[in-house]
Symmetry: C2
Subunit: 209 residues, 2 copies
């Protein structure tokens, strides 16, 4: 479980503010997650997410003390960009990034919950599809949805995927799942907090790509 477990998300404080620095540090380990899926087909997705992270990091680095929390970034950009906001800057990058994070979270949760297709117990298509439907589908036009359906065929076997997450370490499936469960605790709380912030600030957009 090298990949995820060595880079757990921090526990959030009572006020649910997400610190930009540690958030960026933790998410920077996620793009390699898409390498675990095995196929070159996922490279553009990895690149899209890595691009989001780069964009948020650039804003943070421009003034770390001003942008100490994600909330401060959204507030500052709202002020700065006027009517262009929220389809702009780090606000837009985080809007999409959080959907990718939700996708990863729902997929992992569904795996640890043991959801499977009984006819194909070693496939993860049901889990991937569930994650896609919850996190992304409504933001994709019919063409990207069609591409998703095709890309689904490139999803790895369950056993290979779990091994890839464990990255070389010899672990039993149950140990691996237990570590994923641990990882999900702070990760889920963080993703939830970001979604809540977008709702409260009226920063969520429904447009499709």
């Amino acid at each position: 479980m090298a990949l995820l477990m060595d880079h757990q998300f921090k526990q959030l404080p009572a006020d649910k503010q997400v610190e930009t620095r540690s958030f960026l540090e933790s998410v920077s380990y996620l793009p390699p997650f898409f390498d675990c899926l095995g196929s070159t087909v996922f490279a553009p997705i990895k690149a899209d997410i890595a691009g989001n992270i780069t964009k948020i990091k650039a804003v943070y680095d421009s003034n770390p003390s001003r942008f100490k929390t994600l909330h401060q970034i959204l507030e500052a950009e709202k002020e700065m960009y006027g009517t262009e906001w929220p389809k702009v800057g780090a606000t837009l990058a985080l809007m999409w990034l959080k959907r990718g994070l939700r996708f990863i979270q729902v997929l992992l949760q569904s795996l640890v919950d043991g959801e499977r297709d009984d006819n194909n117990p070693n496939l993860i298509r049901v889990n991937v599809t569930k994650a896609y439907e919850i996190a992304l589908k409504k933001y994709h036009g019919w063409l990207v949805q069609k591409l998703f359906q095709a890309a689904l065929f490139a999803a790895p076997y369950r056993s290979d995927f779990l091994k890839a997450l464990a990255k070389g370490r010899e672990v039993k499936e149950e140990d691996c799942l237990e570590k994923v469960r641990q990882f999900l605790v702070n990760f889920t709380v963080t993703v939830d907090a970001i979604y809540e912030m977008y709702t409260k600030m009226n920063a969520e957009l429904e447009y499709k790509v």
Copy 2:
């Protein structure tokens, strides 16, 4: 015809050597070509090609006088990388880049030659498909081929595509096509020369992604 015509490829010398500096300068204007296709779906393709160019440029910049021609890059890397070569470095990047260039060349040539689907004269699917079959299909596994077929639905109308190539300038279709014809002269010779170099140096690989 702003996009292509303002950045013609240089005429090659008699020995058909392609100068790295001017080649990189000319190809750097090509990734925006994929914006002309209109859809966000082509962003990963644009990124893939831009990545190839960045990789070749990094090698060139490391020693411009040593890497004056593309041929000198391949020779140096062959020496340097041993059995890893040619699936490595700028040699690999140019191997894929030339396929993207061939795709663009065949597509434009097919348009200026007036090839069309008589039942759908304003679609460019026949032209895009021809370019794909000649330049890329054999290097793609069934999944990427399937993705291509889906992406084809995002191809723009012929009239919109020609307008996009002309980028804002008011031009008649015939004027636009004439400029594409001019652009194709040195472009085609350059792409042909690169293919020939890969064949002669035994640097072409047939693996599929």
